[in-house]
């Protein structure tokens, strides 16, 4: 059975202009990411891993090349179409959680659903299911301030999951967590790729975090280094 690639990147180049100088963030990268893969992107600062993540997630555009996600050339979408596309296809997890402090855990998770056509009851069911998946259904009415760092990141994962996206992108998701909380969060991401067939792309500096991934790729100066594959 052929492998279905969720992400397909060809000759991707990204240049940034800093004053009079063009800086190459990505240089002719080609990469396929199959459905259900948990991919770790590693590399030193400035290697282009976050830029690659942003282009795949549709929050940045390449200078040259093609980035297809589920067959859709993301760069061809307008700003407005991209926003809708991100809402339906991508879940974001950030290093510093970025929950809205005035909303409860439940409301934070419900937030992306406000952009859908779901009614109040359906939104409630879906948000509680997502919170249950990360083991925080009993913390639904707590505000971020009342949660630990690990719990906040689990709420952020629930928010990323709630629209049932194909792709979850995580930028240093364990960067602000202690080792136990980090292991919990990485375990959830791993489970999502293995049992729910979600494609998870994670940027990390931490080899221990990368060890949870099914594949690790290294970037350096905007180019891919040889791939290290762990398990299917």
């Amino acid at each position: 059975m052929p492998v279905e690639n969720i992400v397909s990147i060809r000759q991707l180049t990204k240049l940034y202009r800093q004053g009079e100088i063009d800086v190459t963030a990505l240089n002719g990268i080609s990469l396929d990411i199959p459905r259900g893969e948990f991919l770790a992107l590693m590399g030193p600062s400035g290697s282009g891993k976050s830029t690659l993540l942003h282009i795949i997630a549709g929050v940045d555009r390449p200078t040259e090349g093609e980035c297809r996600v589920q067959g859709q050339d993301v760069a061809q979408l307008s700003e407005s179409q991209l926003a809708d596309w991100r809402n339906q296809n991508v879940g974001f997890v950030f290093q510093s959680f970025n929950l809205i402090p005035v909303l409860t855990a439940f409301e934070n998770v419900e937030l992306p659903l406000l952009l859908t056509r779901l009614n109040r009851r359906e939104r409630r069911t879906q948000a509680l299911t997502a919170l249950d998946l990360v083991g925080l259904a009993d913390r639904a009415h707590h505000t971020p301030r009342q949660l630990s760092g690990g719990q906040e990141q689990r709420v952020a994962i629930a928010r990323a999951l709630v629209t049932d996206p194909t792709l979850i992108v995580a930028d240093e998701p364990t960067g602000n967590l202690d080792s136990n909380s980090a292991a919990e969060v990485l375990g959830i991401l791993q489970a999502l790729s293995r049992t729910a067939a979600k494609t998870v792309i994670m940027v990390t500096h931490d080899p221990k975090a990368a060890a949870f991934a099914s594949r690790v790729i290294h970037l350096e100066k905007g180019e891919l280094l040889p791939t290290e594959e762990r398990r299917p």
Binding site: H54, V59, D84, N98, E107, D171
Partner: protein, 381 residues
């Protein structure tokens, strides 16, 4: 949760700042409404039931120049004229006051009552006013303010005219556009002044409103090329010319209003900028998870507009309640009779508040809407 609920929670996330912002809008709009009401009060020409058929005749040179008393006979013979009374501003200090705090006018009582038909008073008091040369009638507001009662002797020290007067209060009146004035017999004034044969102005009543244009023209022509040429005009036109004397005050009050609005704009804009700057990361995340530029723009505008609207409700509503339920006459020592917060003034203040809510948030809302998700996310870690 709804989008509206989300906006409300964001607007109130820093409760102290939101409260201060609302209060600054409320206090400023209260002040703005007060200034607009005061401006209206001092510049609005009064209109009452008798005004339409009344003519004021004054010296063509200036209001301060008197007219000869002999003109009365000429005026009374002009076709279309029903009644004529001298109307001279006395301007005396009452009791120990530093300056005249209410106006006193010398009139012909009988003709005056025919001309100012809206003045309501008891028949016996009117009789006394007509019979006693030293009698005076006092507007109800002034009578109440000073606790004056019928039979009181009222002593005045002349400030414009070199004569002091002792008047006997025989009645009170009400129902005119300004129930603060005192009226007394011109004969007593003439006597006190040594029969100078002068009057301040003439008040004339035309037989009908239709006669007004002809009567005005006849009066002006009757005294043309005499030693005391006159300017006859309708009461409304006369009042408008009095209003025009407030010109500088109007400019001053309008300038203060502009400063209030501009200061308010600066305060609100600063508050909104702070509120947005500290949520830069959150708004970038909202964009990342699928909120459109226009939605982010709308959230910020709605938040700002909401705070301004609550402030407006408190400020404008407070001004309305305050000026409706307190006696402005007592508060201003009789300088103002009534402060009416008209729908038009509330509309102006409401428009200012709405514009304020939108304009103050416009710059941060545009900046945030234009910000790319990547630039916003770069500030995250």
């Amino acid at each position: 949760m709804t989008i509206a609920g989300f906006i409300v929670k964001n607007a109130l996330r820093n409760k102290r700042r939101a409260l201060l912002c609302i209060l600054s809008v409320a206090v400023s709009l209260f002040l703005l409404v007060s200034l607009l009401v005061a401006l209206r009060e001092i510049t609005l020409p009064p209109e009452d039931v008798g005004a339409a058929a009344r003519i004021i005749v004054r010296n063509k040179v200036s209001l301060a120049s008197p007219l000869p008393a002999r003109q009365r006979a000429v005026l009374e013979r002009i076709p279309g004229v029903e009644a004529v009374t001298p109307f001279t501003f006395y301007g005396g200090k009452f009791r120990d006051e530093d300056f005249p705090k209410f106006a006193q006018f010398a009139v012909d009582p009988k003709e005056f009552m025919r001309i100012v038909v809206e003045a309501k008073m008891q028949v016996d008091q009117l009789d006394a006013f007509l019979k006693d040369q030293r009698a005076c009638i006092v507007g109800k507001i002034t009578a109440d303010k000073y606790g004056l009662k019928i039979g009181d002797r009222l002593n005045f020290i002349g400030t414009l005219w070199p004569c002091d007067l002792e008047l006997k209060m025989v009645g009170t009146y009400q129902g005119t556009i300004d129930d603060r004035n005192l009226f007394f017999n011109h004969k007593y004034f003439d006597e006190a002044m040594g029969n100078l044969g002068q009057v301040g102005t003439w008040w004339v009543k035309a037989r009908s409103i239709d006669d007004m244009p002809d009567v005005l023209d006849r009066i002006n022509r009757a005294f043309a090329n005499t030693s005391a040429e006159v300017r006859a005009e309708t009461e409304r036109a006369f009042q408008m010319s009095m209003v025009s004397m407030w010109g500088n005050i109007k400019i001053l009050v309008r300038s203060i209003c502009s400063v209030v609005v501009f200061t308010l704009l600066l305060v609100s804009a600063s508050t909104m900028s702070m509120a947005i700057r500290e949520r830069f990361r959150e708004l970038a995340v909202l964009k990342a998870i699928g909120f459109q530029r226009r939605e982010i723009f709308g959230f910020i505008l709605a938040e700002s507009f909401g705070l301004a609207a609550v402030g407006a409700l408190l400020g404008i509503g407070g001004a309305w309640a305050f000026f409706t339920h307190i006696s402005i006459s007592k508060l201003t020592d009789g300088i103002f009779v009534a402060f009416e917060v008209t729908p038009q003034i509330m509309g102006v203040a409401g428009t200012v508040a709405a514009a304020l809510g939108i304009v103050s948030a416009l710059a941060p809302a545009i900046a945030m809407a234009r910000m790319s998700v990547v630039d916003g996310l770069k500030t995250l870690d």
